[in-house]
Symmetry: C2
């Protein structure tokens, strides 16, 4: 295992401390590193909280700040955070308008956020993301997995929360964005969890995993490596198959951690060519490694159909460690 780490049991703590120090103008760290919260809270706005296993950085802590999340709860690597983390985060950011959880559809996360909802003694609603079209039930999920599209939900709902929209309206908005959002991923290599010290799965030198999950869990099938255009064609076909419509869209090409920008932009080029054949018009773009799987090589494509309201909320100012504009 080749990683820039010290003792594997300290990886998460040292990385979180580095993150909090590098972005001390935006975030503060909760007691015992239970959560990362934004420094400034606006009284009377709904507190938007997400979280999940670590190893997907910058998701979620990198999206904490003005116009996006109020707090993020980091679990151990690829392990759900515990209910006491979400309860502590809710306590820290609730200004009286209630709390909205954004939860990726993975069994551990769903269970722990549900427990937190019941135990935290506040008005809580939850948006469950399940944008991954690759598989229905999977290794760690009932139903589809919540993957890179979660970022889009967090950005758009975060902008609406900043405007002061109410809890039920935000919950409905989050569900709407999730329904308009479809993703699919491919892996060229496995990731390696530091504590395991070896690759999560094995791929031959000429193989790829089509439809991979963000923990390296299996997708649709294993295949010989294909040209980028053929990969994009298959991913876009899967994404558009279940799409509720056509028209203007945000196209988000996401790197899984070890894929350089040059390849991601090449995939963006391929994806747009394919999407236009399916009647999807890319009007907003995001290209980069935002929802990662440690050091996995590969990428996902996420498409969100945009109406005027969603476009304005996507464009609204945001000031977080990993996404910033208009501020």
């Amino acid at each position: 295992m080749k990683k820039l780490v010290n003792d594997v049991s300290d990886v998460l703590a040292e990385s979180i401390d580095g993150f909090a120090a590098a972005h001390a103008d935006i975030v503060t760290l909760g007691d015992q590193r239970k959560f990362i919260r934004r420094k400034d809270l606006k009284p009377g706005t709904v507190g938007l909280i997400s979280g999940g296993g670590s190893g997907h950085e910058p998701l979620h802590a990198g999206f904490v700040g003005h116009g996006m999340l109020h707090a993020a709860c980091p679990g151990q690597i690829f392990t759900s955070p515990t209910p006491d983390q979400m309860i502590a985060a809710a306590e820290a950011v609730d200004t009286g308008a209630g709390i909205l959880f954004v939860v990726k559809n993975y069994e551990g996360d769903v269970m722990n956020f549900e427990m937190a909802s019941e135990m935290c003694g506040r008005e809580v609603a939850t948006v469950l993301t399940n944008d991954d079209v690759a598989v229905e039930d999977s290794l760690y999920t009932t139903g589809r997995r919540g993957v890179a599209g979660t970022l889009v939900v967090e950005k758009i709902v975060g902008a609406a929360a900043e405007q002061g929209r109410g809890l039920q309206e935000l919950k409905a908005l989050g569900d709407k964005v999730n329904a308009a959002t479809h993703s699919m991923g491919v892996a060229l290599t496995s990731c390696t969890v530091p504590a395991a010290g070896k690759p999560t799965f094995n791929l031959g030198e000429d193989e790829m995993e089509i439809g991979v999950g963000i923990h390296g869990e299996p997708g649709r099938r294993r295949e010989k490596i294909m040209p980028a255009d053929a990969i994009a064609e298959e991913m876009v076909a899967a994404i558009t198959h279940d799409m509720p419509g056509k028209g203007k869209a945000l196209v988000f090409v996401n790197g899984f951690g070890a894929t350089p920008a040059m390849e991601l932009y090449l995939m963006y080029h391929s994806a747009c060519t394919q999407l236009e054949k399916h009647g999807i018009e890319p009007v907003r773009s995001l290209v980069g490694s935002y929802v990662t799987s440690l050091d996995m090589a590969g990428c996902s494509i996420t498409v969100t159909l945009l109406d005027d309201d969603l476009t304005k909320l996507w464009d609204a100012p945001v000031h977080t460690a990993a996404m910033r504009w208009g501020v």
Copy 2:
């Protein structure tokens, strides 16, 4: 070779086209992809132009836009752009106040930018960056290499150009920032140039290259992998050894392309601990993969000593594909 590509001879063109499409609000593409220029030019400001071999994305095209570069010339992968590219870029962005080239100290780049200066029939000055403290003369350089610190020069000089400062003042500022900036890198794996199809160099499963260049060229020595803290200690010692002073600084931890954010933040944490021992106080931070070597795993640390003028220029609004704030 595992990459998201089609024909290896099309990698650069397809990636540039994807970049230009994804960021069409900021940049436009020159004829025959000779350069990427910002859409809006401010008459009477010096045109800031950089460029170099491709494979270091987002450097340089990702830094084209308001408050940073006016144009970037992409060479073939790890190969200098040609003088006709710089001449065409100068033609496109010169509004009468002259042209400043920012050139990384590599022999091919230095020669080609010099030829362009002589041939382009405009008032031209050049800032040569040579921030890499790892080695003196090296495989492709006389003197020290220009690496990740080039980003800092481009940001600070770009902000000053936006203010309307004159050509000679900007040249002096660029030289000052370069002198205040020191970098060093380590590689855990080689990069693979698509056209070569195999790793540029070979590292054993338990080895790292200390002082590596941004094309995978040799550094100081090959060593068994060390803990992150020991790596940071050695890098910081090398950086501060030649530092012209102490005090407030920008600390920039840069990923080489295949290193995930979790490890970069961990290295930021280590680097800051070490820097404080040397009397360096981190007051600004940048953590991410900005000056890469294709799919190389590893990172560099760059430190720039900041005075009030440099700090204000670093903080000034910037709107590029890869760095954006205040706009």
